[in-house]
């Protein structure tokens, strides 16, 4: 700018344009409205806190379908969620958790035999840092990230310690909050299952074939054993 103070005036023009523009142009708003997010993906808008009607899923208070907050345990529906819980209490996530916020105890039946499900599964969400390492290391797709964020509690210790039953969520719920991720995960699981079954089938067939071959070989051997006798008789 050539005249003194011109830089300040042109700067003020910018602020004035932003001030006036903020009434018309959503781009000028300091809090943007997420209008550029893809259409048809839920939820469209993060909305303002507390909930804006209809914008957030009523029962989940999720932010967006990409966000992650704290882990949850998946089950596949059924009468009791514990019947179909995917977690087998292998404790890999407990070992790998960077801030060590997971605590697992295995369940045993009356004979003292492990029944491959967690008796206790606690996550201290005051320690959890939402890093998703547990999700990645889980070989059973049993733990995934929830996006529920309204977890504040007046109880400083108990309120932030999520127990197994608080963490248990159905796969349908997972599909509701993270539709794309859940679909991809289900597809991958189905593929893995199919591959496993195919492998099982292949090994079973191979075993069957082997058994048949063995039986045939035995039969041949028996026939050979018997054949000299036949010659004698003839």
């Amino acid at each position: 700018m050539s005249f003194p103070g011109g830089g300040i005036f042109s700067g003020m023009a910018v602020t004035l344009r932003n001030f006036v523009g903020s009434y018309f142009d959503p781009d000028r708003l300091t809090t943007n409205d997420y209008s550029w997010r893809p259409v048809g993906k839920l939820p469209q808008s993060a909305g303002e806190y507390p909930k804006e009607g209809g914008e957030q899923l009523s029962d989940t208070t999720t932010v967006t379908n990409y966000s992650r907050n704290f882990p949850m345990l998946l089950h596949d529906g059924g009468v009791s969620p514990m019947d179909t819980i995917r977690c087998v209490a292998c404790q890999i996530c407990e070992r790998e958790c960077p801030p060590q916020c997971i605590y697992i105890e295995k369940a045993y039946d009356e004979n003292g035999k492990s029944i491959k499900s967690p008796e206790k599964f606690d996550i201290d969400v005051s320690v959890c840092m939402s890093c998703q390492i547990c999700v990645e290391v889980c070989p059973f797709d049993a733990i995934v990230m929830n996006s529920q964020f309204e977890l504040s509690s007046p109880d400083r210790f108990g309120g932030l310690l999520l127990r197994r039953d608080d963490l248990l969520k159905s796969n349908d719920y997972y599909h509701r909050i993270h539709p794309e991720e859940a679909a991809a995960r289900d597809q991958r699981m189905a593929e893995e299952k199919a591959a496993k079954e195919a492998k099982k089938k292949a090994t079973a067939e191979a075993a069957k074939k082997k058994a048949e071959e063995k039986a045939r070989a035995e039969a041949e051997a028996k026939a050979q054993e018997e054949s000299p006798g036949n010659e004698e008789t003839s």
Binding site: I8, V14, R17, E96, M129
Partner: protein
């Protein structure tokens, strides 16, 4: 203007002496919890001692007690503005340990994420810098408005806005969702419009000029011998950029310029960052044009258990050279893990820059260094 006519009172028993002021520790939202012990002669800084460690979290020792992968989310929390570049530097170091080939698409996405991070860092740094000058709020909020758009992109890709935890040894954790690249392009295309406006708002403002030009000069020799890196080194007139020098990742495929200053004062440091954002946009455009389809994860070993080795992985972070030095001893945990944080090493010349300046300028100089105390204290 007529000089004010006053007489100094000279009287026995009235003595002048140096004044010691403890500036800080301040709230983390500005730069972090940082304190300066300043000795003042009137308004002039005679001596300055930076005091830090308020945010020490034992980062390096923690890493020695957990697996290589489990440390990745902790690197997010070093410099919490630039979690993506922190991830990248750590991944680069660890990838040298086991020699994983990173797929093409992942390399492109890494560059895109790193350059978006650079935009986030520089745009908010400039906001904080003028905030330190006294322009409270307005430029910072304009900057945060743009930053928000990029953080939305990060959230879509990685699930979190700031603590992304997105890079993995050998690639990325997941592919970006459908339509993400189109949105990234939209953000990149709209960014120059904001930059034009931002430059108009700040770069010629007489108050900023008079408060920053000639303030806090850092000579070329001192900058080099003190190990200063990043925009601060380039502002002192050394065109040194690891993206050009090392060409890590696939940076050798992009055409971009490295802006550098002449004077090494606060204004140069400010302008170098403004210009760097333009170059980042150039890189982003080229990367978004050329990104191929394909895998995003290389063949990483299932259990990350490297052979004994020593590696150093470094990148040109938005604040300077960010390096991770790892010693592997054949176990799943690193034997030694060391971070070379750019903020910390850039902070070491604070005293040299502040000596002889006014106390009000010490704040400006601190702002122009671009530190994040999460990284300084670790």
């Amino acid at each position: 203007m007529v000089a004010p006519n006053y007489e100094l009172i000279e009287q026995e028993g009235l003595e002048t002496s140096l004044l010691e002021v403890s500036m800080g520790p301040h709230h983390p939202s500005t730069h972090g919890v940082f304190r300066m012990d300043v000795k003042l002669d009137g308004e002039n800084v005679v001596d300055l001692k930076p005091v830090f460690g308020y945010l020490h979290r034992n980062h390096e020792k923690l890493a020695e007690n957990m697996s290589y992968l489990a440390n990745m989310p902790f690197t997010d929390r070093l410099d919490y503005f630039n979690s993506m570049t922190n991830n990248w530097a750590y991944a680069l170091a660890a990838e040298q340990l086991v020699e994983i080939e990173v797929p093409e698409r992942a390399e492109y996405l890494r560059v895109i994420m790193a350059e978006l991070t650079r935009l986030v860092n520089h745009v908010s740094l400039v906001g904080f810098f003028v905030n330190d000058l006294g322009a409270l709020g307005t430029p910072l909020l304009y900057a945060f408005r743009e930053r928000e758009k990029i953080l939305d992109l990060f959230e879509q890709a990685s699930g979190a806005r700031m603590m992304c935890n997105y890079f993995r040894f050998g690639g990325l954790r997941c592919d970006v969702p459908e339509g993400w690249l189109a949105q990234a392009r939209e953000v990149v295309d709209q960014f120059p419009r904001f930059l034009d406006e931002y430059e108009k708002l700040l770069c010629e403002n007489e108050i900023i000029l008079s408060r920053t030009q000639g303030i806090g000069k850092l000579s070329r020799e001192l900058a080099v011998s003190a190990g200063i890196t990043g925009p601060m080194l380039r502002a002192s007139g050394v065109a040194y950029d690891l993206r050009k020098v090392d060409a890590y990742g696939i940076y050798d495929r992009f055409k971009f310029r490295v802006p550098y200053g002449e004077e090494g004062d606060c204004y140069d440091r400010f302008m170098v960052r403004m210009l760097e954002m333009r170059e980042s946009l150039q890189i982003l455009k080229q990367a978004l044009d050329n990104i191929p389809e394909g895998e995003i994860m290389g063949k990483a070993p299932r259990v990350f258990k490297p052979k004994p080795a020593e590696v150093y992985g470094r990148i040109e972070g938005p604040k300077g050279e960010l390096g991770f030095y790892l010693i592997a001893d054949g176990t799943p945990k690193p034997y030694r893990y060391r971070v070379r944080p750019p903020s910390f090493i850039n902070l070491t010349v604070l005293r040299d820059m502040c000596l002889g300046q006014k106390i009000a300028d010490a704040v400006v100089i601190l702002g122009s260094i671009d530190i994040v105390l999460g990284e300084v204290d670790r």
